[in-house]
């Protein structure tokens, strides 16, 4: 298997720092105030981009799980776990920012009628259970298999829960992307894109960092076993 090119970690770290700073500057100084919600609406740039990043992490986890089951790629299991871990971290942030935004604009910390937030809570519980499962198994092929299968269940659960929650909804969540493209333009779009890129790059940097650390850990353990 040929070695694929990977961006070095320091470069990634620097670019995520630059991007997050730029995103902050754009959010606070460039983006215009919202006509209805005023200043507080700016949390949207983080909330939405973090949510999409979390979904991307879960998708990455499922993709690596699939690679583990299909190709028996020995590195895929750890990559899948790290993806899900990052997804859970970003998922926690989504629930927090969503809760804050809900309190400011609708006056409640939690709204069951808000379907995206409920979907996220279900997914959050699902992926917490993933960790319970993983930590209840000894390292080895069985742990890799079971974790991979459960991570794949997640990608089936996302659309199914989404449909379920839509069935039982009273919709007040603002819908940003309609069939006619994004529901906004100008500086709002630019700021959103910068924030989204910043979050994705940040997530990727964290993913690479954690994966590198975990792999080093495994190698160290192997070496210790050889020496012992």
């Amino acid at each position: 298997m040929g070695r694929t090119f990977r961006i070095p970690l320091p470069a990634l770290a620097v670019s995520s720092l630059v991007l997050v700073t730029t995103a902050l500057a754009f959010v606070f100084f460039v983006a215009p105030d919202d006509a209805n919600q005023g200043f507080s609406q700016r949390i949207f740039y983080f909330h939405v981009s973090i949510a999409i990043t979390a979904y991307a992490c879960f998708a990455g986890g499922a993709w690596n799980a699939f690679r583990h089951l299909w190709k028996r790629d020995p590195r895929a299991d750890l990559a899948s776990y790290v993806c899900v871990h990052q997804g859970l971290i970003f998922g926690t942030l989504v629930l927090l920012t969503g809760s804050i935004w809900a309190k400011i604009s609708w006056g409640h910390w939690w709204l069951w009628s808000e379907d995206q937030l409920v979907l996220f809570l279900v997914l959050f519980l699902f992926y917490c259970a993933y960790f319970m499962l993983r930590f209840s198994l000894d390292p080895g092929p069985q742990r890799a298999n079971l974790s991979a299968v459960y991570a794949l269940f997640g990608v089936v659960l996302i659309p199914v829960s989404f449909a379920a929650i839509r069935l039982a909804k009273g919709l007040i969540h603002p819908v940003l992307f309609t069939r006619h493209g994004p529901n906004f333009g100008g500086w709002i779009l630019v700021t959103y894109c910068v924030a989204q890129t910043a979050m994705l790059v940040l997530a990727y940097t964290l993913y690479r960092l954690e994966l590198g650390g975990k792999r080093l850990d495994l190698r160290l353990r192997d070496l210790r076993e050889v020496l012992a």
Binding site: L125, S136, L146, L157, A164
Partner: protein
């Protein structure tokens, strides 16, 4: 054809085992009756149909969990799972047979539970019965699959509810919706879709759960 025979033989084994030992079904029946009594005292006054149909689904889900938790216990205690995996049949047949056996227990428990619910609380409509039938398939398909996963872990049956409940949320949405609205077609269709989707996923990936 031999696949059907394998599934039949495996399901027969489970039913026979239950018939002789009587472990699971009496426990499920007692549990669901006790849950109804607890609900009666947990809801002061006369609860509306809307409230009690929600409780019916909680009772069904937890009764199913009780049965599902037991599904792989005999295999674990006797070490028969290794034998089953080594048997010259498709591994998904193990999942299908176990799901069918659990489905039989759950349906038997509900044959008692639904009249009991009607006696204690409110009348049970045709839509609720249809929703129960469809939800049972999904519960048993996914639950049996996750039961096989949970039994491989150190935490054993403790893990099953944690793994299962997030995946059961769509079932509850569809089932409760079908029991309370006037035209339940949409919800029943959703339940059928859930059953189909997850049955295919479980059937295709069970191999990886039992293989070392």
């Amino acid at each position: 054809m031999s696949y059907v025979r394998d599934v039949g033989a495996l399901a027969r084994k489970d039913l026979l085992l239950e018939l002789r030992a009587r472990d699971t079904l009496p426990a499920m029946l007692l549990f669901v009756a006790a849950v109804f009594v607890v609900f009666h005292f947990a809801l002061p006054g006369t609860p509306s149909r809307l409230e009690t149909s929600g409780l019916l689904w909680v009772a069904i889900l937890f009764t199913a969990l009780l049965g599902l938790g037991r599904a792989f216990v005999p295999e674990r205690e006797q070490g028969t799972l290794d034998g089953l995996v080594l048997a010259p049949c498709d591994r998904s047949a193990i999942w299908l047979a176990k799901s069918l056996a659990t489905l039989a227990f759950l349906v038997a428990a509900e044959v008692v539970a639904l009249p009991l619910y009607a006696l204690f609380f409110h009348r049970v409509g045709g839509a609720t019965v249809a929703a129960v039938a469809l939800a049972d398939i999904g519960i048993c398909a996914v639950g049996t699959f996750l039961g096989a996963m949970a039994v491989a872990t150190r935490a054993r049956d403790l893990l099953l509810p944690l793994l299962f409940l997030p995946l059961a949320v769509p079932i509850v949405v569809g089932a409760v919706g079908a029991s309370v609205v006037v035209s339940p077609g949409r919800y029943l269709g959703f339940l059928a879709l859930y059953d189909l989707l997850f049955a295919v996923v479980c059937w295709a990936s069970f191999e990886y759960v039992v293989a070392e």
